[in-house]
Structure formats: structure tokens, C-alpha cells
Amino acid sequence: MTRVWSWVALAVGVVYFALPLIGTVEFSLRKRRGEYSLDAYREVLGDPRFQETFAYSVVMALVTIAFGILLVVPTAYWVRLKLPRLRPVVEFITLLPLVIPAIVIVFGYIRLFNTSSILPLTGSARGTDLLLMFGYATLALPYMYRAVDTGLRTIDVATLTEAAQSLGAGWVTILGRLILPNVLVAVLSGAFLTFAIVIGEFTMAALLNRPAFGPYMQLLGANKAYEPAALAVIAFAITWACMGLIQLATRLQRHTRAQRR
């Protein structure tokens, strides 16, 4: 009897998730009347606006990831090593972006850093990019921090640090040669999640008026019929590729068995 119900549950899941996807794929192939074709994809991929916004968002994602790693790895490490009692507090802070809407964050940014403020970041494109990157980093913070903190749990941070110190290592060496390599899988999964978030993000990029991929998707969706479907499939494929890469990274780690002890 329970078997029957698990099959029912599975079927419902497949219908719920797969059917819209199949529908979208099917629709995206119908641009040419009367036959299936990749015309919509050709159109999208050939659009210079697509290429520009996508390249912009990829670069932003990479910068955000780099910034996130530099911010989160030392912080999570330091909290575990020196301030274990503050861990719940820090964890709570990193979760805040989940409950504060992006629109609130970005309006706060605009108020604080507008052209008549002390630090007029919105006055230049580069400054606005920087602001946007901080915004993305904030959005990705909950995922990044959790991933890294979980990674740190698999190693004995305190003892490994002391072992390295007794061998003469300073903080930079410890973080770079010891902590980061040992949480690399966790960092990578955080990085791919960040990538997926940044690629799809709309609110911040739109309000800061930067040429990102999210607003482009929205614009296309409002003006065309088949292309948005093709674009959705492409975006979906990118997200899944990120997930796949997380899996791959986990497998490639040579010493993971040691980490799990």
C-alpha cells in the first residue's frame, strides 16, 4: 500500500515540475509555423543585448563570488576558532537577507550612496557596479555562509590551526594553504549558488539601472512570444549546470574521505 502511495507522490512531483518545463521547451520550439525549430534560440543567442547582459552578469557573478569567499571564509573560520559563543548570532545575521526584501536593501543603498551623499557610489557606472556587487553578496550571504560553516565542521579547525602555528605559519598561510583547501567543496557549492542567484537577479540590477541579465529577461518577456520561453530554458540549463558542477567538484576532491571523519 505504501508503495502505491510513493508512486503516486512521485507521479505528482513529476507532473508538477516536469510538465511546465516540457511545456516551455515545446513552446520555445514552435517559432516557425507548422514545424519544430531552434529559431527562437538562434534569435536569443544572436541578440547582442543577450550577449552583453549575459557577459555582464557572469563577470558580476565572478566578482561577487571572489568577494564572498574573501568575506565569508575568514569570518566563518574566525567565529569558529575564537568566538564560538557568537556563532548563533552571526548565523542569524547571515540569514537576515532572506527576510529583508532585496528592494529594501537596494533602496537603502540608493539613499546612503546617492550622488549627494558622502560616498556617491551611484554617481558612476563603476561605483554602481560595486554597489550592485555588494547587494549580490548580501543576497548570496546566507547560502555562502552556511556552506562554508558546514565545510568547517568537517575539520578540527582549532587543532589544525595550532598544528600549523607551531610549524611557524601565520594567518594568511593558515587560511590559504589549510582552511580554504579543506572547505573548497563547500566554497564551490556556495559559489555556484551565488552564480545562479546573480544570473537570475532582477530587482537590484533594475533599480540600480545596470545592464544585467535579469532585467534583459524581463524586457524580452514583455515584448516577445517564443524567445522568452527559449531564454527560460537557457537560464534553467545554466542553473542545472551549476548544480552539476557542485556534484562534480565534490567527486573530484581527492581527500574528501578524510574530511568526513
Partner: protein
Amino acid sequence: MPFLDLVSLQKSFGQLRVVKDFSLGIEKGEFISLLGPSGCGKTTVLRMVAGFETPSAGTIRIDGRDVTGLRPNQRNIGMVFQAYALFPNLTVAENVAFGLKVKGADRAEREARVAEMLRLIGLPDLGGRYPFQLSGGQQQRVALARALAPKPRVLLLDEPLSALDAKVRVSLRNQIREIQRDLGITTIFVTHDQEEALSISDRVVVMNGGIAEQAGAPFEIYNRPATRFVAEFVGTLNLLPAEVEDAAAGRVTVAGAPVALGRPVPPGRVTLALRPEAIHLGPVGDGAAALPGRIDDVHFLGSVIRIQASVGDRRILLDTFNRPGLPPPSPGTETRFSFNPADVLVLEG
């Protein structure tokens, strides 16, 4: 002046005084064990030497230089941890090379030293393995090699054998001692296992409640314990309560039998303490004291025969050597146990 000089070290965690006035001078090349029950502050002393804890008071000098304020990575001290603490992302060779790399040794020098170290610990072919591919004993030997590779001035080991099984423990402790002697490196070895401490140390420091109760050669600690704690903690002791008849002359009675100790004892009640090997079966020569008793059980261990017996209402243990011509007594035998009064430790109360 001692090579490693610990002067009046103290450490408190909040209200808790963990180390109270600990002083110890260690000569160059000496192998010292800190022995004591769990929680007595051994690790804390070691961590102060390593620089991981700052003493609440006191001074640490190495080779005449005050290092109390130096950070751990400036002290050039090798440390081996109970949990091995090998870097899981690095191979054995990279682990051993870590300290050399930090110091800026060039590649050729590093490789030569790593090979030398791996040969020293008897694992010359395992340089390419990752820590998780090694047994516990192998991991701890790699940890030793890693600590020794940068030629530290002092080697600290915090219960390095506790996580290993009995056989490996004995062979590895001997190997550690051999390597230590070869290199002539000044070493502090922390353990709660008295056999470990007694078997490999130049000197043993018995700690209790944050102080050093006694420091001395294993022979001295075992045979001339300075305090009741040391006497009871190190080795097995048979404790026999005695009534003092004549304190000045050292005459007491044990289980109704008179014993002449031949030296003054405190008045009132005392406890006579005897090592298992100091008690003999049957009467021995002149001057020996003898107590009546009964054999309860006999354990034949090979070269040694361990006998459980009773004197009055007290259970005692005695060890005799196996002698092929002399079968051990059978349980239930009434006999006399004798001992040399000079072997008796008199404990107050």
C-alpha cells in the same frame, strides 16, 4: 641554567586556577614526562610552553631567552597532538614539508629533509599518500616527522599515544624515545599512563591539581615517592593500616603482628605501603618482618606470578618471579608474607 626553564607558571581560566606555581628546569636533550590524572593541568602547561595559552603569571625561557610573550609561530617548537592533526588536504610528504615551506626552504632542501624524516620514522615509501590512507600509528609517526622537520628547539607531545591500540602504543613509544635520543632534542611528553612515563623518560614530573608533586628519575619516583599522592598514583601499592606502638623506635602492629621498622614514625595511626615486588612468600632472612595471611588467587603470567592474598581483612597483591623448580602456591594456603622494613613507605593517617 636549564635549556628550557619554566619559572612559577600559573594559569587561571576565570575563577578556575588550573596551574598553580609550576616550576621546572629542563636540560638540553632531556626527555621529561608530565604524568598525572586527567584534568590536573598537564595540557595547559604544555600549551603555555607552545604559546597557545598565555600564562597568568610566570616566565618561560628557552636557551636563556624569555619567550613568554612570543606567538606560537615565532617559538620554533614542535608539537604532536593526541588527534594527529595532520592536514587532510596535503599528502604525507607535503605535511612533513609544511614547516620547511613556511620557513622558506627551497625545494631541494625540502625534498631532502622530507626523505630524511620519512626514513627516520620508518615510512620512506608513503610520501605520496593522504593522511586518511594511513593507520593511526602511521599518522602519528608522520605527525612526529612533521614536527621535527623544521628542527625545532623543543618537542612537545600531548598524549600522542592515547588514541592508538596497546601494541602500537608500546612500539611507538619506544620509537619516539629512540628518535628523540638520536636527535638529542629537548622533549616534554604528556601522559596519564604511568607505565609510559616511567619506561621512556629521563625524568618524570608527577602533577596533581595544578602543581608538580615530584620531579625525578623513574627509579626515584617509583621507589621514593615524595608524597602520598605520588606513591598511590605511580605503580601498585599495598596499603596496610598500622597502630603505632612506639613512634620513636618505629614499632607498629599490623593485623595483630608486630613489625619493627627501625626508624621513627609519626605517632597514632599510619599506613604501611608496599610495592607488590617487595612482599615475599614465606620467611626471609634476618631483620625481615613477617605477617600471617592466606593466598586467595594465583595468576601465572609467565616470568612473573601475581598472587592475590589477604592479611587480616586487607587484600594485597604480590609479584614473584617464576622459578622452574618451585611451583606456585595453591589458593587457600595459609602462609606468612615477609618484607624488608627498609622497603616500606610509611604514609601518615
